[in-house]
Amino acid sequence: MSEAGLALLFFGCVCGALMLGFPVAFTLAGVSLLFALVGEAAGFFDPAFLQALPNRLYGTMINETLIAVPLFVFMGVTLERSRIAESLLDTMAAAFGQLRGGLAFSVLAVGVLMAASTGIVGATVVTMGLLSLPSMLRARYDPRVATGTICAAGTLGQIIPPSIVLVILGDVVSNAYQQAQLNLGTFSPKTVSVGELFVGAIIPGMLLVGGYFIYLVGTAVLRPEWMPAPEDTGFDRPGIGQIFSALVAPLALIVAVLGSIMLGVATPTEAAAVGASGALLLALLQGQLTFMRLRDVMQTTVHVTSMVFLILIGASVFSLVFRGIGGEEVVHELLTGLPGGQVGALLAVMALLFVLGFVLDFIEITFVVVPIVGPVLLAMGVDPIWLGILIAINLQTSFLTPPFGFALFYLRGVAPKTISTRAIYRGVVPFIVIQLTVLGVIAAWPALVTWLPAQVYGG
């Protein structure tokens, strides 16, 4: 069998095995090892490639960039468990709920502010769905508008900094960038940092939020019956003090975290620790920090962190075997052989990621696929920060796209039966149009991504 055939067979086996539903981390590692075993017996795999494994594992343990992951998880879980997110939504709904479309804007704002989610698309959408869908339906919102807004706002947090997937993507793209330069013979490679990716995500994130906002305002004006102002929101109008503690405090926290990274005074890891401490303090001040809840936060942090890093370990085994059977050269030849050069290769990768987004979550795709295709694209001269942001928005769009999008599945799971699946599919269409527009705009003008990091970090 040719190398291309083998690589395809291997990739197919892994994808097929993943569909069975056994945990991703062990499936990746297990199938790769079984494939390597067969390959060794049949003479197409040299086991020497796997000797690097212990050192890879150790490298994962001492990876300094990724230390930000548990800290951001800690912060996000604290905000969520201490009901800071919930009271933010309630207060905003009470403050703006009287306005036409007020609830939808509240959902959007909470989606943006609660960006420090756990990095799992399902979890965020489920939380948002449980929190806000009932109130929107009670206020007689059109189910399409309600579900569309929740799906879009729930996935938006993935790509608005500070987010865990951007930390992971930053680390992976940075490694790919160094490898690309080494392959080209540059032995003092330039680097990209997670901070640069955070800063690069700001303008695209604002474009997306702006797009959503314009759509919601337009709907509120043109189709007032779709998002009516309720006579009674069921909330008392909050006092200034209430608004302050519910809105300003978490907002200040997010701004402090992002600001310190942008100003270059803190690394993402340091900012994450400050954010986590701030979240604890906030929970304490609001009387929400009980011993049980703290324990719950810590244990959830262990769960999420171990889950993320075990996928990384599984992905390292996969990549060693993939390299061992010559898969990297196959991908390299395939991508550089496409018509249209850089643009053609980029389009092909984006299409692949979009399709993979139907079955795999952000973390798996970032750890498994980006290290393979990233170095090739970057060696062709694609800007690393731009690439990272394109991948992020592309995947977010994929998670929204019917009929397979993750976000839709999970919202379906928590939405009442009276809402048809069709309504959910219809509801996200305007948001997908916005996503694709922003993706196109950013693809056409890379400066929208690269300009701000260059200002902050001095190019």
């Binding site: 095995a17 993943l18 569909m19 069975l20 539903g21 056994f22 945990p23 991703v24 981390a25 062990f26 499936t27 590692a29 297990g30 199938v31 090892l33 079984l34 796997l50 000797q51 494994l53 212990p54 594992l57 150790y58 343990m61 001492i62 300094e64 990724l66 230390i67 548990p70 800290l71 800690f74 005074v265 340091e270 994450a272 620790a273 986590a276 401490s277 604890l280 703290l294 324990r295 810590m298 244990q299 942090t301 262990v302 769960h303 999420v304 962190t305 171990s306 889950m307 993320v308 890093f309 075990l310 996928i311 599984g314 085994v317 079955v359 795999l360 973390i363 798996e364 397979f404 599945f409």
Partner: protein, 164 residues
């Protein structure tokens, strides 16, 4: 016996406290650097160690609580029986071989680190790299142990129809 079977539960709950330690130690580092311009490589490295301990020793704990993500587009529609089969066969053919392999290849690696009592490459760093590396085989053992418990529980369910 009951306590032994819950081994990973105890380890996980203990390790959970280290996440709080990570937050507080890193916060201290930030305050010390920007407030007092002092820094310590050993303290810096201790956060890395804590991080490594958390996710390595937490791996089996997360497995115990079924917190490792699955691709569940088909799995979630499966009957309980079929899910039990997936888990049983998955442990047998994917999880256990992975743990066995990691155990196998990491033995020499860790032994070499112990032989020289490998420490930090940085001056003033922690001299405990050999202990950190030892987490690799320990994690493989703990995950394998939890995997076997899961396989036994699923096998019992498949055979008797009773949830363990």
């Amino acid at each position: 016996m009951k306590h032994l079977l819950a081994l990973n539960e105890w380890i996980g709950r203990a390790v959970a406290w280290l996440t709080l330690a990570m937050v507080l130690v890193t916060l201290t580092i930030v305050v010390a650097r920007y407030g007092f311009s002092i820094g310590s490589i050993a303290v810096q490295e201790s956060v890395t160690y804590l991080h490594g301990i958390v996710f390595m020793l937490g791996a089996a704990y997360a497995l115990r609580h079924d917190q490792h993500v699955r691709v569940d587009i088909f799995y979630r529609e499966f009957t309980k029986r079929r899910k039990a089969w997936v888990d049983f066969l998955g442990v047998l053919f994917l999880l256990l071989p992975t743990c066995a392999y990691i155990l196998l290849v990491s033995t020499d690696y860790v032994a070499a680190a112990w032989q020289v009592r490998e420490g930090s490459r940085e001056a003033g760093g922690l001299p405990l790299v050999y202990l950190l590396k030892t987490l690799i085989p320990i994690t493989a053992l703990l995950v394998a142990f939890e995997g076997i418990l899961i396989a036994v529980a699923r096998a019992r369910f498949i055979l008797t129809g009773r949830r363990a």
